[in-house]
Symmetry: C2
Subunit: 319 residues, 2 copies
């Protein structure tokens, strides 16, 4: 799939030279799909993502199948993709049982999913915020003892459908707690997509003041209100160089108002490459992968870039 | 339509305090619609946009009906809305004949539509670039003699479907020519939506060096590759305070690869209000207007914000 040598590359000052894309389509994307995706199709999706140059691909979740039936095949899927050279395959684990299942399969990177708000901790995990952190602590500690890399998702960092605005200090408290228990990396989630660029800068500035190093921070924006890429630009300007995105814009948050969810990896790559920022990703191959996945799911990709590049250029003379 | 006191307002440094939104939905939006919209519906659309707080509403185009049949009712529409208090109603004019028609109805603001590239001048106007500028010169001069405010659109500033990348110096040459003939304001168009933030900054920096004042510059981004709002943020950071947008994301460019076109005014307002930038716009009323217009057109708005705010919040306990 040709990208016509576009976008034109024009760097901007004070941005990272290279961005690591944390691809979440296979986990965060497919866990929100109603269509049952066969294990072999998931494995092929992960292989194609790797073939497009993505090097961090969140593969699946070792959560109880009762809660996320879409990913009930984690045990079958993981061994099918775990030998991809040069590709890190983090997996989500909700508790010690999930960690043990992941470790038994040889997982070397895990992620835990915390909340910045009481309401979401209650809705998603049926625990208070402190109770949920207390559950994660032994999980993270044991993972670190096993030499496993741990990512801590912090959801609802910029707003919550029940509480509305979320105080930055509360987000910082959860982030610091996750760092203190040993998380190597945090992913700051705008789960309902309400953030704007000043809000992003303010949170990153506060975390910097609290001693959380910017290279331990990833950002995870949703496009519910169309803000994801502008917020990403603000984060890059604040020094962030790890960005979560979902191939083709798969998935979203079941609590958000709109079906539009994750930032599409293709839209992100278009901006990064235009800015001269290295990603290692081949945009044409990635787009072809998302077109293929959309065919498997039977519906078009919500990514603007996938929709645009999926069509041939047909300049016509009439107007 | 409630916006739930979101987004949370967190200003960012070095941005304009106030942005003037140049609303193009009634002209640029409807001219690209296949559905024939009755004149009274168009008038009601303009009135509702004004009621939502927009103060610059591009109303219609005095181009020959053969080329833009959707706006063939310009003579009937303009008098229906020309008495809206505090609202400027620029109209597009392609030539002296169009200008005379607009002036006869009392129009006080006009816009001409130039191209930054030879290919688009040829395709859109069937003239060379210099020939098209020569046609605009007496139009702009006569308008200025009549005390009319003149906006010069410069399309294809960041890329062209035939030529690919467009040299910044060529864009600057067209911009300077339009300023020299008397244009009060320029609108820099990314007609095919390929720009990225560094490219935007670079063009604005070049124009600054060429003596084009930033307060005479508006930006007109398309969302074909999802870049419009990130590019807008870059333009704001460069001092631009006039931004074109289309209510509900109506319209687009017939030469672009995708149906996704103009930046949606609602998505823009969400970002601006989150940044604490004044617009004078009531987001709830604007969204309601776009929902109403989508009903008239019989298809949903492509604006993410309109889609999200158009639904009730329904947090649910299961996941």
């Amino acid at each position: 799939m040709s990208t016509d040598a576009l976008p034109m590359v024009v760097p901007a000052p004070n941005l990272p030279r290279r961005v690591r894309i944390h691809e979440v389509g296979a986990r965060d994307g497919l866990q929100n799909e109603k269509t049952a995706v066969p294990t072999e199709v998931k494995a092929e999706f992960v292989r194609r993502l790797a073939g497009a140059g993505l090097t961090t691909i969140e593969a699946t979740s070792f959560v109880h199948p009762k809660w996320v039936p879409q990913l009930a095949d984690a045990e079958q899927l993981f061994p099918l993709v775990s030998d991809l050279p040069g590709v890190a395959l983090p997996v989500l684990v909700p508790n010690r049982r999930g960690l043990d299942r992941a470790l038994a399969l040889g997982a070397r990177r895990i992620a835990v999913f915390a909340s910045a708000t009481e309401s979401f901790a209650k809705a998603n995990l049926n625990r208070t915020l402190d109770e949920s952190l207390a559950v994660f602590e032994p999980v993270v500690r044991h993972a670190k003892d096993e030499g496993v890399h741990v990512r801590g998702y912090v959801s609802m960092c910029f707003g919550d459908p029940w509480e509305g605005a979320v105080p930055l200090t509360q987000v910082a408290r959860v982030c610091t707690a996750l760092r203190d228990m040993g998380c190597d990396e945090l992913s700051l989630g705008d789960t309902i997509g309400v953030a704007t660029p000043g809000h992003v800068r303010a949170l990153l500035s506060l975390l910097d003041g609290e001693g959380v190093p910017v290279d331990a921070i990833g950002v995870h924006f949703h496009d519910t209100y169309g803000q994801a890429l502008a917020n990403t630009l603000a984060a890059l300007e604040s020094g962030v160089s790890t960005v979560d995105a979902s191939a083709g814009g798969l998935g979203g948050c079941p609590y958000a108002r709109s079906a539009t969810g994750n930032l599409a990896t293709e839209d992100l790559v278009w901006m990064l490459h235009g800015l001269g920022i290295e990603t290692g990703v081949d945009l044409g191959r990635l787009t072809a992968t998302s077109v293929w996945m959309a065919e498997q799911l039977g519906r078009p990709s919500p990514s603007r870039t996938v929709r645009a590049l999926g069509k041939p250029t047909q300049p016509h003379e009439d107007q």
